[in-house]
């Protein structure tokens, strides 16, 4: 394959991969692993992430292998059936490098269940019901923020946990500020309508 074709192939592979695939690829860049250890390493590194099922790990390894980004690197016979170890290939490293270098578009489309629900609540529910929903949501966010803060300041917290908690806290904080602004806007709007 020419270098240009490799680049194109990597780009096309990258655009088809979800970010959990890249995390698995990154973990394999540290050393060859079989699916079971890979799933454990993923959970260990990203404890706050949506958990990855074993089936998902094996299916991803299958896709990465098909695309030439990982390659089987031996069998671990002592550890039971289907213990094929996988190693990252040069194409896999290139795909990983490209993904790491690509800047993520800063929120190109505003879409979240939270926003959708607030929009629909304001559309179909009365103001009091919308406020009750916003209030309950705010409470849930605050409780979660407090839990994450406790996790972060617990003695012996690992850097991985602290960084993941920081990320979640920053997003919860942004949501909380937006929820408060929305509550204020709804209150203002209600006052104006009643005036």
């Amino acid at each position: 394959m020419t270098p240009e074709r490799v680049d194109t192939a990597i780009h096309s592979v990258n655009s088809g991969l979800v970010s959990s695939s890249h995390v698995l690829l990154g973990l394999l860049a540290v050393g060859a692993m079989h699916g079971y250890d890979l799933k454990r390493a993923y959970d260990n590194r990203l404890p706050q992430a949506k958990p990855l099922g074993y089936g998902q790990v094996y299916a991803t390894l299958g896709r990465l292998s098909r695309d030439g980004l990982v390659t089987p690197a031996g069998q671990d016979r002592d550890a039971g059936p289907d213990r094929t170890s996988y190693a990252i290939t040069p194409a896999g490293r290139a795909a990983l490098d490209e993904w790491l270098a690509a800047v993520e578009p800063p929120a190109p489309h505003v879409a979240s269940t939270l926003l959708n629900k607030v929009m629909v609540a304001l559309l179909v529910a009365d103001v009091d019901r919308a406020r009750r929903y916003l209030t309950a949501q705010r409470r849930a966010h605050t409780d979660r923020l407090r839990e994450l803060t406790a996790l972060k300041i617990a003695p012996g917290a690992r850097l991985d946990d602290v960084i993941a908690a920081d990320y979640a806290i920053a997003h919860l904080d942004a949501d909380l500020r937006w929820l408060q602004t929305t509550l204020d806007r709804v209150a203002d709007w209600h006052r104006e309508v009643r005036a």
Binding site: T135, R138, L145
Partner: protein
Amino acid sequence: MTEPPAQLQARGVVRSYGATPALRGVTLDVAEGEIVAVTGPSGCGKSTLLHCLAGILRPDAGEIGYRGQRIDTWSEAARSRLRRTEFGVLFQFGQLVAELTAAENVALPLLLAGTGRRAARTAALSWLDRLGVADLADTRPGEMSGGQQQRCATARALVTEPRVLFADEPTGALDTLTGEQVLGHLVRVAREQRTTVVLVTHDARVAGYADREIAMRDGTVDHSGLGLVGGPR
């Protein structure tokens, strides 16, 4: 489960600055050892509430109670004595005496309370160590970063081992990471000492360090449920 008895109480507290009302009837309880965050937008009265609870300001109406005693009727001298012996106060900045070293600043409340010079210095050094700034003992505030100054100020607020620490936006002037380190030390030490903390903040991330949040709005505690009032941990 029975509720723990309140250590601090406010009952219908009203306070104005001239014709401008700051508190319009605040009622709340804080239990011993609890860390509460008083939150709300600027101008909602949260700092005025802290000053009233700490006996710095006297309410125009209503009552402030501490360990079952009504303290708002006490003389200025009696309230000042209470602040020196039972309370610690921490503000956003500008608290350390520029001419004194960190150890001298931290020892100051003990010296004012009559502790001997040597014992005061030993205690000051121990508190600077607990706040992770023992190496700054002989440094003056002007040579310290904002975070280091605030850790020294925290040590000074805690050196008398107060039962209650009042902190008004204690990390408001610090960057996120430094503020977090100061708060982390403060909360850890407060829990070890079972010190009650009343923490005034407008920042939900700072409030996340507290056991409970008291949301204020327009001079009252927001009981409508719109605020962020959580349960004790």
